[in-house]
Symmetry: C2
DNA sequence: TCAGGTTATCGACTATGAGTCGAAAACTAG
DNA sequence: CTAGTTTTCGACTCATAGTCGATAACCTGA
């Protein structure tokens, strides 16, 4: 691979091109999936690629990725978009030098956005043959999501506006790749004041069962959960009234 | 500022240039400082800028920032280097479109690398007038350092090979911006197995006092501290299939 | 040599948040 | 009403972090 460098790029001082790409993730049917389109033309004909394209000459990075994404999916359904990293390997593109800035996009579960013919969702655990270095970029996106679920409220971007704890558990376990306890998830997210009950309930399942309460995220923009940094500042002064169990008002529990 | 866009950039489809920049941080005299050089020529003559420069035509991003840094500081003294983010605002450079990929570099305390005439260290809390958007990039670098100190072993990049807990406390509090308890720091880093005693001690201070034990970091490459992710996988006991099965055997899918 | 001052280390205690488990609640179907 | 199902919640345990004070190990000066 490195051997190809010297012969492949004729113009050493040519300004490299710049493209933007996006790893768009969604939990679909309980499985974390990524939006890919299949290339119809060389290079990498037939392989699957991330949505994206070359940066416009007067276009900022963020607006550019939104514009490119609009060709593959309704951008309004994106619940989150953040920059991932930038890759400049000389040989990452076979024809010419292209620097790529990758983004991570998220779509709430239960949505099924219209996509073009060449575009489909693929479970991240069963990726098709990928073009360029896009497989590595997807891996970076998964990792970013996984880690941010721990110390931010990013769950809001995976979940629809209202959800039960069971559903939320499904989104988290799909994104994290391991089982998540519903009890613990609820307690943790309530304590962090990320979610709150809506007061309504979801209809019971086919076999009955207690109807699940519906919750929502208090905030649908990214916030880092404070209080989880280690080596905190010394005893934070009486700034915060010591968050007490926000869950229930005094007389909450039903009869006996 | 946005009003200037349309008149300033004549060639809408011109390929933008690409540069790399680095926020190089070091704790100097107990104060977190950043390496800056003063521009001798317009634009932004006299203002201070981050080390960096345009990306070579056959140069990867990482090698490029190392090459550019070599002009300002001995790169071999860098204890850490990682990509920060990429900025493509059309008007971030007054003359032409330049996309910048920023890096975060760290130099261990107690080193005093040779730097050119135009280059000096500046306490991050007293920044001089900055060129371009470099002030914002420095802020991003500080934040990255601060946050990674909490959940990685990045402290190794701030500290010299051997150090006392007191010294280490100084590096951490300078980088974090608040006091850090030596007792707690030692216990936390020992438990995470980030540091270990060398068996030697440092000479006592001018007023005597118990000589401090010397410690070192076990690993001088970045490692994320596991066990601090919230919502961990379920206590992985001895065996356990560990395989998630979205579809449950007994029940069917939710009713319709 | 010893008393007093200085700095580092360490153990004990407390606080907080997370993981586990099982009982009870609230439904459906027959 | 009973049996089966699913959700909710309290009580417990565990792990890690923050605080405080006692003790150790060194210095200087009388």
């Amino acid at each position: 691979m490195a051997a190809a460098r010297d012969v492949r790029h004729g113009k050493p001082d040519a300004t490299p091109g710049h493209e933007v790409l996006a790893v768009v993730l969604q939990v679909r049917g309980g499985v974390l999936s990524v939006l890919l389109w299949q290339r119809a033309r060389p290079p990498h004909r037939g392989k699957w690629a991330l949505p994206g394209g070359v940066l416009g000459g007067t276009e900022d990075l963020g607006p550019s990725i939104r514009r490119q994404l609009a060709a593959k999916v309704d951008v309004r359904e994106l619940s989150h978009l953040e920059q991932l990293d930038t890759r400049g390997q000389v040989d990452r593109h076979p024809d010419r030098r292209v620097i790529a800035t990758a983004y991570l996009g998220l779509v709430p579960a239960d949505l099924d956005p219209d996509v073009p013919q060449d575009t489909t969702w693929h479970p991240v655990d069963r990726m098709p043959p990928m073009a360029y270095d896009h497989a590595a970029i997807v891996a970076a996106g998964r990792e970013r999501l996984r880690s941010k679920l721990s110390y931010t409220n990013l769950g809001f971007a995976l979940a629809p506006p209202d959800f039960t704890i069971s559903q939320l558990r499904g989104y988290y376990s799909a994104a994290l790749g391991h089982e998540v306890s519903a009890t613990n998830l609820q307690r943790v997210l309530l304590r962090r004041r990320q979610i709150e009950p809506t007061g309504r309930t979801a209809p019971p399942g086919p076999y009955g069962g207690r109807p699940a309460e519906l919750f929502r995220f208090r905030e649908r923009r990214l916030e880092i959960t404070d209080g989880f940094a280690v080596l905190r500042p010394p005893t934070r002064p009486p700034d915060r009234p010591a968050v007490r169990d926000p869950g229930r008002p005094p007389g909450g529990t039903p009869r006996r």
